[in-house]
Amino acid sequence: MSPSKGKIRVLIAKPGLDGHDRGAKIIARAFRDAGMEVIYTGLRQTPEQIVTAAIQEDVDVIGISILSGAHLYIFPRIIELLKEKGATDMLVIGGGIIPEIDIPKLKQMGVAEIFTPGTLTSNAIEFVKEKLQGK
């Protein structure tokens, strides 16, 4: 289902070993309250599991929450897998403890936006809605 016809579908994922899920759960709920369909993967998902879930659930957005510092390994792996599966139209966004210096690198890989601590959920919601408008 494309967003123009119905609700925006979002997968919120927690990759890696990190168990800090406050941000993931807050953004999941904020997206849901903003009228999106949200699926939350739960903790400790591998990039393979995340991409499989995203494709199965036919989501428009993958939101990745990571606070452990493993982002430079996790994001490229997810993008690579999406390319392999031909699912490059999915919007990949991320949030967590991510130094500014890494953000351009992640964007270059194909991550649409990174939201660092202190981001208002309304900003993330606006960003997603705007990005998916033209679709």
């Binding site: 070993l17 390994y73 130094p99 208002l120």
Partner: protein, 555 residues
């Protein structure tokens, strides 16, 4: 007296406040703490009419310890300045520890990386990208020897933030001390070892609740005899608060966890006074100074009562709530990071005014990365300035007797008892966790707080008010996990070919049998680590015997 105060207050309100408000309305309709607790405009003796000084407050070092657990508190000895630190490999973390000790830190606190916390060796598939990232990688006794190289374990006390595999890291520490010639009964420190808060908040679990509790009570029994100066557990509200709990929820869930551990010890056949004196606590300190101070004071009073009345402990030491404090990581902002130094100062002050036994002050850059050296030094200096320049350590419990703080302490105690009783009714904390009760309460509070920020009911400087364009951030401590992983794997391989592998096998076999039976696991873990069995090998055996916890995840 109270009646006349009440009357006069009424008069003050009608005559002075109302007309002032008419001219200049108050800034908000409702004033609340960080946790959303409503606060009145003024507190007077009429707010604490039943205060019985000897019963409710008493003297420092005397039941119910509201004013502190020690008779002299900081006049005798300052709190321990214990900065949580660890990254990359044991070599690099050892260098940071030596530097911190050289700069006046008085105790160590080890941060392990995620694979270590989860019981995976650095060469495990799930460790990719995580080795050495948010703590130090420890795969075997060899890494532990390097980590404490040149640090006299008979003199320095060490806190280790490790939970599911706590028994293994503690065994390694005992083994390193022995190699240094320090007897087990001469080492001092703490293992966090608090699995219940992992299920509730931090989520670094391995085994299901029952075998996890067995490992913990085995440690209570073993340590009370073999390493009597060791704190066998640090019952932690810190992570509960970081996950979004209110101050009262942090207080209540932590003490309810404490009750579950004491009950488990008693159920395992231990005498309460044998192990209770070595239980310690760990709280968060957030921005709301008075709320935090009241929380710490209420915590001591509740725990003393729980231990004396509920568990009938006889030793005074069993009644003490000794605690470590860490400033609130979740309060730090990625925007205008210099502001974080000010936040940390206020939070540290709350910990000190609340009578903490040890303190970690966060570094300004922690919303973005692991602390750089300069930021870590400023964080330590913050404590030193509070200790030596501010004068706050000159007298004991300086806020005691404040109408506001006493009222707040009473209210927080009452609200915490409400939660504790509710959890008792559910059948205790493990049953409550299985129902998802504390998890849901925390999630609700976290979401409410986030909404309050978005609606600007709560102001965070630099986030929803006083924003500005910022220059590029200063350099952070960058750790290349792939480099660290390669180093660790090399060490693992070298050790595997060097150690006596048949001895390792024998030890693991004995451990497996012990896990199936009822024997205390600690001696078996200790003999395993001494022959350089890897952390992951030990956890694998226990995982096979005990199974893994599966979380019901809701949002």
């Amino acid at each position: 007296m109270n009646d006349s105060i009440k009357k006069e207050k009424e008069r003050w309100k009608n005559k002075m406040v109302d007309s002032a408000v008419k001219r200049y309305p108050e800034r908000k309709e409702l004033f609340t703490t960080v946790s959303g607790k409503p606060i009145k405009d003024l507190y007077t003796p009429a707010d604490i009419p039943e205060i019985d000084y000897l019963k409710k407050l008493s003297f420092p070092g005397m039941y119910p310890f509201t004013r502190g657990i020690k008779a002299t508190m900081y006049r005798g000895r300052l709190w321990t300045m214990r900065q949580f630190s660890g990254f990359a490999t044991a070599e690099e973390s050892n260098r940071r520890y030596r530097l911190l000790l050289e700069r006046g830190q008085t105790g160590l606190s080890v941060a392990f990386d995620l694979p270590t916390l989860m019981g995976y060796d650095s060469d495990h598939l799930l460790a990719i990208g995580e080795v050495g990232k948010c703590g130090v990688a420890v795969d075997s006794l060899q890494d532990m020897e390097t980590l404490f190289d040149g640090i006299p374990l008979g003199k320095v006390t060490t806190s280790m933030t490790i939970n599911a595999p706590a028994a293994i890291l503690l065994a390694m520490y005992i083994a390193v001390a022995e190699k240094q010639g320090v007897k087990p009964d001469h080492i001092g420190g703490t293992v966090q070892n608090d699995i219940l808060k992992e299920y509730i908040a931090q989520k670094e679990w391995i085994f299901p609740p029952l075998p996890s509790m067995r490992i913990i009570t085995d440690m209570f029994a073993y340590c009370s005899k073999e390493i009597p100066r060791w704190n066998t557990i640090s019952i932690s509200g810190y992570h509960i608060r970081e996950a979004g709990a209110t101050a009262v929820q942090e207080l209540a869930f932590t003490l309810a966890n404490g009750i579950a551990y004491v009950q488990a010890g008693i159920d395992a056949g231990l005498e309460v006074d044998e192990f209770a004196p070595r239980l310690s606590f760990f709280f968060n300190s957030h921005n709301d100074l008075f709320e935090e101070v009241a929380k710490f004071r209420a915590a001591r009073r509740i725990w003393a009562k729980v231990m004396k009345e509920r568990f009938k402990a006889k030793k005074e030491r069993s009644w003490w709530l000794r605690f470590h404090t860490q400033t609130a990581g979740c309060s730090l902002t990625a925007q205008q990071i210099e502001n974080n130094i000010v936040r940390v100062t206020i939070q540290a002050l709350a910990g000190i005014l609340g009578g903490t036994q040890s303190l970690h002050t966060n570094s300004k850059d922690e919303a973005l990365a692991v602390p750089a050296e300069e930021a870590a030094t400023t964080a330590l200096r913050t404590q030193q300035i509070l200790a030596y320049e501010s004068g706050v350590a000159n007298t004991i419990d300086p806020l005691g007797g404040s109408y506001f703080v006493e009222k707040l302490t009473d209210e927080m105690e009452e609200e915490a008892w409400g939660y504790i009783n509710k959890i008792d009714e559910m059948g205790g904390m493990i049953a409550a966790i299985e129902r998802g009760f504390p998890q849901k309460e925390i999630m609700e509070a976290a979401y409410r707080y986030q909404q309050a920020i978005e609606k600007k009911e709560k102001i965070i400087v630099g986030v929803n008010k006083f924003l500005m364009e910022e220059e590029e951030q200063p350099p952070f401590l960058m750790i290349d996990s792939e480099v660290e992983r390669a180093k660790q794997i090399k060490k693992l391989q070298a050790l595997r070919s060097k150690r006596n592998n048949s001895k390792v096998k024998e030890c693991l076999k004995r451990l497996r049998l012990a896990a199936r039976g009822k024997e205390n696991l600690m001696p078996f873990i200790l003999e395993s680590v001494k022959v350089y069995t890897f952390l992951g090998e030990i956890v694998d055996v226990l995982r096979e015997e005990f199974g893994e916890y599966q979380e019901p995840s809701v949002f």
